[in-house]
């Protein structure tokens, strides 16, 4: 199998701001170790992520270009450091060779709707500290072999990432995050939309049109 080029970042791509696509019906997809992930319509806890500590910066993918067929792809351990390193705009990326990745066909997946996930707030009560609100943030974090990679971040109202706040928050954050995902995870992405080029390609017609309009608007104001 040849590594799918549709997953690779291009020098013509830019980071996707999830705030700009919240109005679209965009879903996120995450791989699971097994095919069976739902019971009585609700995701099972062990499918959310392999280790509870991973929930703090859970990795997912924008669903669309990245789809169910790509779930089985896993970069081999020896090459993870390179291919999973963060992609920065204008950086060239190269396709992993056949011997640098493998396929795990036992994997399953689940979906999360971006509009419900991004900037969702959970008020947290804690008798030892003052109460605060946890906000779930979707952050686009492309890596060298996957432009569609995103991470979840759980932050307090000052923007501090909770896992870095204090060890005493670990359990609260884990349970809150898992319950939040349990509520929103679904086993199908019916009616989902791919992210239009406008939101990630530097030279899409829509994007250029928008720039031109902005330039004309500022010129007309002068």
């Amino acid at each position: 199998m040849i590594y799918p080029s549709k997953l690779l970042p291009s020098v013509f791509f830019r980071l996707i701001n999830p705030n700009n696509i919240r109005h679209l019906n965009v879903y996120l997809i995450r791989h699971t170790p097994n095919k069976t992930n739902f019971q009585a319509g609700q995701i099972i806890e062990s499918s959310i992520c392999e280790q509870s500590s991973h929930i703090e910066d859970l990795s997912l993918n924008f669903y669309g270009k990245y789809d169910e067929l790509d779930i089985s792809i896993d970069i081999k351990q020896a090459h993870k450091e390179h291919f999973f390193s963060v992609w920065t705009p204008f950086q060239r990326s190269r396709r992993p060779n056949e011997d640098q990745f493998e396929q795990d066909h036992n994997r399953g997946w689940y979906y999360l709707p971006l509009s419900k996930l991004h900037l969702f707030r959970v008020p947290i009560e804690n008798p030892l500290y003052s109460d605060f609100t946890v906000t779930c943030e979707v952050v686009h974090k492309p890596v060298r072999c996957n432009f569609w990679h995103v991470q979840l971040r759980w932050k307090d109202e000052k923007g501090v990432i909770l896992s870095k706040k204090a060890k005493t928050w670990k359990r609260t954050v884990q349970t809150s995050s898992k319950s939040f995902i349990k509520i929103h995870a679904v086993d199908n992405a019916n009616g989902s939309q791919s992210i239009p080029l406008l939101y990630y390609c530097l030279f899409s017609l829509e994007f250029l049109q928008r720039i031109i309009n902005r330039v004309f608007y500022s010129v007309s104001l002068q």
Partner: protein, 231 residues
């Protein structure tokens, strides 16, 4: 009447029931207890749905993931919401379960239901723990401080419509309890920590978190009692 309600199951299943330790026993000296259900459940140790006003009918045994369960479907007997089997007799290589008792008392039904939930939840946890020594240590430790039995009793009294128990890799018990319009997520961290709570819970309704809290078993039970009383 009893003959009408008798049902048959292969003998091997009965043997499995005697040995399973799931809390459902059948045989001359034990009583098998079944409950009515709107939706035929697939594995009561994992997922239970109870209705008090369904009709009892066929009761038969099956296996799922090597655990036996009673599958009860809507059929004949009106208004008898609780029943017991008095005996299981051999008949042509099949075991026939005879209905021994049934009644309608709401109080009795409620008590039985709570007892049953209590047994099922405890058995589910014990079954999982029997396969994992480390988990068993934590369970035994929590048996000493009584927090496990206290929380299981408390959950049973809440009478969820359905529930699910999952034991996580880092040894917490994650309860998902579903009520008609709310879902309670309650995580019990078996390892004792100086700085972290034993329990964390969140209550969701219509996709929104409407309450949450943390603490030891008594704090959490009190908080949840007041939340559910208010609803």
């Amino acid at each position: 009447m009893i003959a009408d309600l008798a049902t048959k199951a292969p003998i091997s299943y009965v043997q499995d029931i005697r040995d399973s330790g799931t809390g459902f026993y059948a045989g001359a000296h034990n009583i098998a207890i079944g409950y009515l259900s709107h939706v035929p459940f697939t594995n009561p140790a994992e997922n239970i749905s109870i209705s008090e006003n369904e009709y009892l009918a066929k009761v038969f045994l099956s296996l799922h993931d090597t655990k036996p369960y009673f599958h009860i479907s809507k059929y004949l007997m009106p208004n008898h919401t609780f029943f017991k089997f008095s005996e299981a007799a051999l008949e042509n290589s099949l075991v026939v379960f005879n209905l021994g008792d049934y009644y309608n008392s709401k109080e009795k039904i409620e008590t039985e239901r709570i007892n049953r939930l209590n047994i099922e939840i405890s058995e589910t946890i014990k079954t999982r723990a029997s396969k994992d020594e480390e988990l068993l240590k934590f369970i035994n430790f929590r048996a000493q401080d009584q927090s496990l039995s206290k929380i299981v009793n408390f959950i049973s009294r809440l009478s969820p419509k359905t529930y699910n128990i999952e034991i996580t890799q880092d040894y917490s018990i994650y309860f998902t309890l579903m009520f008609s319009d709310t879902t309670l997520f309650l995580e019990f961290f078996l390892e004792k920590s100086e700085s972290e709570p034993d329990f964390v819970f969140l209550v969701y309704s219509n996709g929104n978190c409407i309450a949450n809290g943390e603490g030891d078993v008594d704090n959490v039970s009190n908080k949840l009692s007041s939340i559910f009383r208010a609803r």
